[in-house]
Structure formats: C-alpha cells, structure tokens
Assembly symmetry: C2
C-alpha cells in the first residue's frame, strides 16, 4: 500500500467510525454532541464520557474513556482547554484513531499559553497511532455513515466534498447548499490544524470516488508548499473551488485571532491559486453558486452565451455582467433570426442577442420558440434565462388565473425537451432577480432546482458561475484531459 492509499484508508475510517466517544466536561457540551451524532442516524456505537452522569437519551455514560470496554475509533473532545492534554493522553492510551478537538483557546488566542498548549498537543501524539483534527474545530460530517456536527444537516448524501478551516462557515455552507438540494459526500471542519491539515483532506477528497467537486474555506494553510502541491495534483481530476478569508490586511488580522492563520496578499494568493488550477471565489454567495453550476451543468463548448429577458433595460445590464466575466454575447445565426422573425410576436422586439422578448415573453408559443431557437443555434454555447416574476404574478394575465403555473410548465417543458433531444447539450441557467414577490421567488427557484436546472440570484451571479465552469473546462483541456461536454 503506497502512502496515498494509506492516507485515503486512514482518513476514510475517520469518516466511517464504528464507535465514537464524546468527552464533555459539562452536560451541555456532551448532550450537544450526542444530539448531533444521532441526528442523521449514526448506526455505530456512541460512548458519552462524563463522570457526572450515569446515562442520558438512553445511552450509558462512562466516567473515563479508559473505562469503555470496546475499541474507540473517533473521540470528540469538548472539555475546557486545561483538560484537553490529559484527555488526549487517555485517548492515546486507548489507541483511539482520531481526536476531534472541539475545545478552543489555543494558538488562535495569540497568547503564549495558548501557543504552548498547542505545541504540547503536537508533541504528545508524535510516534503514536492517534491523530488530531483541530483544535478549535467541528470535525467530520458524513451522511453515508451518519456522523454529523450539526443536528439539522441533511441525511442525504451528495457529491460535494467540503473542507473548512472555520466551523461556522462549514455550518453556513451546509445549510445554504441544502436549500439548493446540493448535498455532500463528506465535510470536515479542521480549525487550527495542529496535525491533520487542509492538504491531507484535499488529498483524501481527490481519491474519494464519491466526491466529484471540492469546495474549501481557508484562512491560512499551515504548510503552503504541501497545500499547493495537493491542489495541483487534484485539479486535473476534479474541480477545487476556494474561498480565502483574510485577503485584506484587516481581514488577515481577524483571521489571526480566529484560527491563528498567517495571511498572504491577494495578488500572490490569486496567482498561486490560478496556477494550481483551482478556482478562487470571493464571497459565500459565489462559493455556493459555483458548486451549484458544477453540480447541475455539463461543461459548455465555448464561452458564447445566449441571453433571454423580458426587458431591454435588464438585457443591457445582463450583457454588461456577462462581458465583465469574460463571456461573449455573439450574434444569432441567420437561421435563428429567420425562425424567430416568423414565430415570435414582433411588437417592440429586436431579434438579436440579448433577446429582449418584451410582451412576447408571456406568449407561450413565442416563449417556446425563443427557447428552442437559442437551444439549436450553433453560435450559442450556453443559455441564461432571466425570469422577471413581477410580470408573471400580475393578477389575471390574459384572463388566466395562476398564469405562473402555465408559464413555468412551458419553460420547464421546453428545457427538458432541449436536454433530451438537442444535439447540443448546452448548460441552461435561470436567474430570478429580486422583486416584490420575494416569497414566490424562493419557491420558484426551488421549482427549477428540483428539475436539476440551476437557478441563480440574478444574471450577474449566473454569469460569474458560468465563467468559472468555462475556465475550468479550458484548464482541463490545456492539460490534455478533455472533459466530456
């Protein structure tokens, strides 16, 4: 077994433990973790460790981990800082595979005491079989095995692997992605990285067949060389999307007191990330939307986008947004123009790209024709449809009650048809810019997501995500690993 394979097996076991000990000094921290563990049906053994209690939730407590008769795979350590070293020592004696140290108060405090304790932790495990995730972390989430660090995380398994230095950001991402039915193979929050680092988890996710896309939130990789080496090896196999915290001077100071990370300048970071084939993103929204498009879309042939909207003004803004992200808005083919002239109602419409359909947007025949024409146009590689719901919910449009039902069925039907029958398998994206109907907007977006069509905040967000998808496709092609379109 080579080193890579060994690392994979080792970490994979952390994600699939047969037994977990939860070591909490207070009832609150212990119960909290028990609840997290049982929330998505963990079927292994749980051993709460706390001398103050006999049992809770029908589970027997043990005074010390050394009193547990069974083998312990994972130990979650949620005791006060001063007790952490002693607890880890016991875990080593018990030959625990991995200690997930939830407790904080180490190097991230910037105090001599915190840094000393963290260094002692490092020394403590040297030469032992026990490894550490954290301290100052939440550890592992794996719906397949049923372990979780959050009671409301989905029990569905998916294809996104997420690596987060911050626990709070791991929680936010997990919840936000679940809104878009974007689920995880595994997730890890690794905190101060005294032992296992971002690089270890990148390497693990590269080899993990259930992970197709890797997302990451990082403040400062402990060992820059290993980190970039792991990314460079991974990006020819699967996309890696990275949000970096602490790219400004003030942000870096904040990161220092969060996970003890030391930061790089934005320019150096950007060039290093791009060179390694990863995709740098700059906000949580961008991170979520990038994962969304990678999950729901095939790669586009090229960067030519067909835009469809209901208003000329928004068509102009949307075109600007696409151009800003390096996408091209080409002319339609002569064939398309001829077809559209015949089929789309013509009042106030310029048959061009961006296609501002004006009132014809709501004429279902015109709508169908516009979509299928863009779908079959050779000049167009991807389609972005702006759905301006303020026009769809106008009361009693054309005397049709619940006009939006008919409208959505038409659009969804046409997209399904294109996906099935078209010779081009173009990415089709929809965008729902904010308006007055904010509640409807949420449900309408979800309606498309349920049909596996990525629905975005607005066209600018869709264009940004699409530009990442296209960039990565080109990167892979340059490496000679052609991606199936």
């Amino acid at each position: 077994m080579n080193d890579d394979k060994k690392l994979y097996e080792t970490i994979n076991k952390y994600f699939h433990p047969d037994s977990v000990a939860i070591i909490g000094e207070t009832s609150r921290s212990g119960f909290f973790w028990i609840r997290n563990m049982i929330s998505i049906n963990y079927m292994g053994k749980i051993f709460p460790i706390n001398p103050k209690y006999k049992s809770a939730l029908g589970i027997k407590f043990f005074p010390s981990i050394l009193d547990v008769p069974d083998k312990i795979d994972n130990a979650i350590i949620a005791v006060p800082r001063k007790l952490v070293l002693k607890t880890v020592e016991q875990c080593i004696d018990k030959e625990v595979n991995v200690c997930i140290i939830f407790s904080s108060g180490f190097s991230e405090t910037g105090t001599a005491e915190g840094i000393r304790l963290e260094n002692e932790l490092k020394e403590l495990i040297k030469g032992t079989k026990t490894r550490i995730v954290g301290p100052n972390c939440l550890g592992f989430y794996c719906p397949e095995s049923g372990i979780s660090f959050r009671p409301d995380f989905p029990s569905n398994s998916g294809d996104v692997g997420f690596i987060s230095q911050s626990g709070g950001n791991a929680i936010s991402l997990g919840l936000r992605c679940s809104t878009f039915r974007l689920y995880f193979s595994k997730m890890v929050s690794f905190g101060n990285a005294v032992d296992l680092t971002a690089a270890d988890f990148i390497n693990y996710f590269r080899m993990d067949k259930k992970t197709k896309y890797i997302g990451m939130y990082i403040e400062g990789p402990r060992n820059g060389h290993e980190f970039f080496e792991a990314i460079r090896k991974t990006t020819p196999v699967k996309p890696v999307i990275i949000l970096k915290g602490g790219l400004t001077e003030s942000g870096a100071k904040a990161a220092q007191s969060h996970t003890g990370a030391i930061s790089t300048s934005i320019k150096i970071w950007d060039s290093m990330i791009h060179q390694s084939g990863a995709i740098p993103v700059y906000s949580f929204d961008e991170l979520v939307e990038s994962l969304l498009i990678f999950h729901y879309c095939r790669y586009p042939r090229g960067n030519n986008v067909g835009l469809m909207a209901v208003s000329g003004g928004s068509s102009v803004i949307n075109t600007d947004a696409c151009a800003k992200f390096g996408l091209n808005i080409p002319k339609l083919s002569t064939k398309s123009i001829e077809k559209l002239k015949q089929t789309v109602q013509s009042v106030g419409i310029n048959i061009t790209n961006p296609l501002d359909l004006a009132g014809s947007y709501f004429d279902l025949r015109s709508l169908r024709s516009a979509l299928s024409t863009l779908g079959e146009d050779e000049n167009i590689d991807s389609i972005i449809i702006e759905v301006a719901i303020q026009y769809i919910y106008m009361t009693n449009r054309f005397g049709i009650e619940d006009f939006h039902e008919v409208f959505y069925k038409t659009i969804l039907g046409e997209i399904r048809k294109l996906r099935k029958e078209s010779q081009f398998k173009k990415p089709i994206l929809v965008a729902f810019p904010p308006t007055t109907f904010e509640e409807e907007r949420i449900w309408d977006r979800l309606r498309f997501i349920k049909k596996h069509i990525p629905a975005f905040h607005d066209v600018a967000s869709a264009a940004r995500a699409l530009s990442h998808l296209y960039w990565y496709k080109k990167y892979r092609e340059q490496l000679g690993k052609k991606i199936e379109e």
Copy 2:
C-alpha cells in the same frame, strides 16, 4: 421667472396633470393605460381616445383628441408607430402640454425609417407649446397626484426621485424598493429622449423639495455636457446615484438597440461621474441598497466600522468585505474591552473588532451589552450586525419556544435605545446572509425595515452601501457644505 424656475414649473405640471388623454389604437393598449392611471387613485379627468369604442370602465371614449371639449394636460400615446406623427400633430393642435410616447420603433431600431421618424417628431414640436417624453418610454409616476404607468406601484409617497431611460428597469426598481418600504416622490421613464432629456429631469428633481435622493438608470445621455452640468449642480444639494447600462462593448451594442444610446468606456464614465459628485453603482442590487442606506441612515462621522457576528469565519470574510470597500475596522477602546470582558460570556470569544460573539450572541444580556458597547465606543462610527438566522431558528433553544421573538425584541430594543439616547447617532446596519430559512429571512429583514433600520442581503452589501454614504458625506464636506451628522 428665471429659466430654472420655469423648467421646474413646467415639468411639475407634467407630474400633476388635471387631465390625461390616453390614445390607443387597440383596446388592449388603451385599457392597459386606463388601468394604470386609475390604479393609485388619480382624481383628475381621464379621456380615452379610440374611435372603435364608446366607453369602458364607466369612462366615455372620444374618437379623436380634437373631439374632447376640455383642456388636455398630458397625452399618453400608445398607437402603432406609423400613426404617432399624426397623433402628435393633433396633440399640438389641442395644445396638450406633454405627449408621453409609449410607442416604440424609432431610433432604437437602428433603421433609417426609425431614425427618420424620430427626427420628424423633433421637427414637429419645434416652436410649439407641446413637449415630448419618449418615444419608447413609460412616462410619469407620481403617487401624490395619482398618476402611474404600472397598476401595482405603491400609492405611498416617498422621498426618492427616480429617472430611468428604460421602462422595464423603472418598473423593477419601483417594485423592489417598495419591498423595503422605500417610496418615491416621482419617477420618470424617458426612453429615447427626443425632446426632454435626463438633464431636464435631474434639474427638476434638484429643485423638487419632495425629492431628497435621486436615483438613475441611464444608457447614454443625449447631450453629455448638459447631463454632467446638471449633475454637478445637483450633487451639492442632494445625492445622485447612477447605474449605467452599456459599460462593456457588448453591453453598449445592446443599449444601442434598446434606446439608441451611444456609449462611453467604463474608465471615462467612472471618472466623469465621480468628478461630478455622483455615486456610480454597477448592479440593480447596489442601486437599491444605496437608496436604502441614504433613506434610512444619518451620515457617519468617519469610516470606522464595528462588526458583530456569531462566527469567526464570517467575521473574517466580513472584515475583508469592509476593507475592500475602503472601510476601516479599528480597535475597540480600552473602556469597551474592559466592559465587554465583564459582561460578555467568555468561552471562545476574542474581545476585539470584528466582535465574534460565538455562543454569547444568543445570551440576551451579552448581546445587549455588546451592542451598547459598540454604540458608545468613540473609535466606532458605524455598526454592522450580522444576523445568522440559522442559529436563531434552531428548535427550542435554551428551552425557549419562538426564541427568535425574544432575540429580535432584544436587538431592536437596544438599537432603539442607542438611537434615542446615545450621544453618537451612528448608522446601524443589519445583514441577513442567505441560509436555509429563506422565508423567515424575508420577514425578518422586513421587521427591521419597519423599524427604519436598513437590512441588507449580507455584510458585503451593507459595507458597499455604507462606503457610498461615507464617500458622499466627504464630498459634501470638501465642497464646504457640511451635512448634519
């Protein structure tokens, strides 16, 4: 009466007509406009003009505008392009004040015929008392007088004046702003600007006492010199926030076929806008959020921001976002640090700025103390509070059902107290980053808006808006017109 005063009186009458003729060739266009006009209780006279009908909605129709016995102030022209010139001629004979030409098919088509017709329109009104808004526009909205171009625009009057070259964008903005209880003094969609231009409306809004803030969507001002002159005269009096469509080459092409506008490069535009004291924005979201902060906030003393969040990871990202927009995240005063050490639960918290409260965020006493301390800290000029609702809606937190109720009452109470009693009247902004509870998020944002506290999509959006508010305050100070803080 000087020219300025004359312009003001003239345009003000357009916004307050005693009588409106609606000239439509088909029933649909005519009825559409009648519905728009009566939707917010216009109390003047309405004269639908259409030889095909006798009456509708209880209103008598006339075969021609010349058959109307009364004086006509405004005429809305919604006839096919080929009939527009003849209709305007009749309006001139009738001595109509202003023709609002909804019809399109003029210079925006780029055709010789369209351009010729538009030039003929221009010639036609020369030397007459009749002026034109449009063609290819929606015209006037004024809740005070009850005229509207959209049946679902609010009847509430507000303090925002909005000038839009695009009709669709005017509608979008009107609806989106109303979600945030941001209402309009007046709005105008002016289209191809064959006669009345953006500059005319900027000058009008400068003099209009009911307008405190001016927002604008523009593709290409017809006369650049007049346009910038109007802005330069206006920005020392009230803020002007401008979204420009067609700043990229592709976007400019789209603008050309939308309103016939010819575009400038982004660099030239930016420097011209900043020099004239206006605030350039680059998306619809940014436009809405800028209006939001100008409406709901006083000007901050300086650019020092106090950040409050529930997670260290988001604190880092939020700090980056503030720094990116030129805002400063200063140290807290020694007094604040001492006070917070005593009052905020201390597990896992670094008493610093950004203030990552972790679990103490939900301890109401700690929350109150944190807010009041930031409120009274001399180092802090504005406060941004991140509300991570995924933690507020966790079931049965601390055994309190509907914990969010108690939580929001605490935050709102403390903000009200600060606004009333603090010697500093700092802007206080809240941000609601997306999460799973998307419906709750909408209503929670609205809850703050109802209390006149601007609530943003996320901290980055809040920071961007705050940077505009601060920039404008400095601009005014440099001009020697100090703004009351």
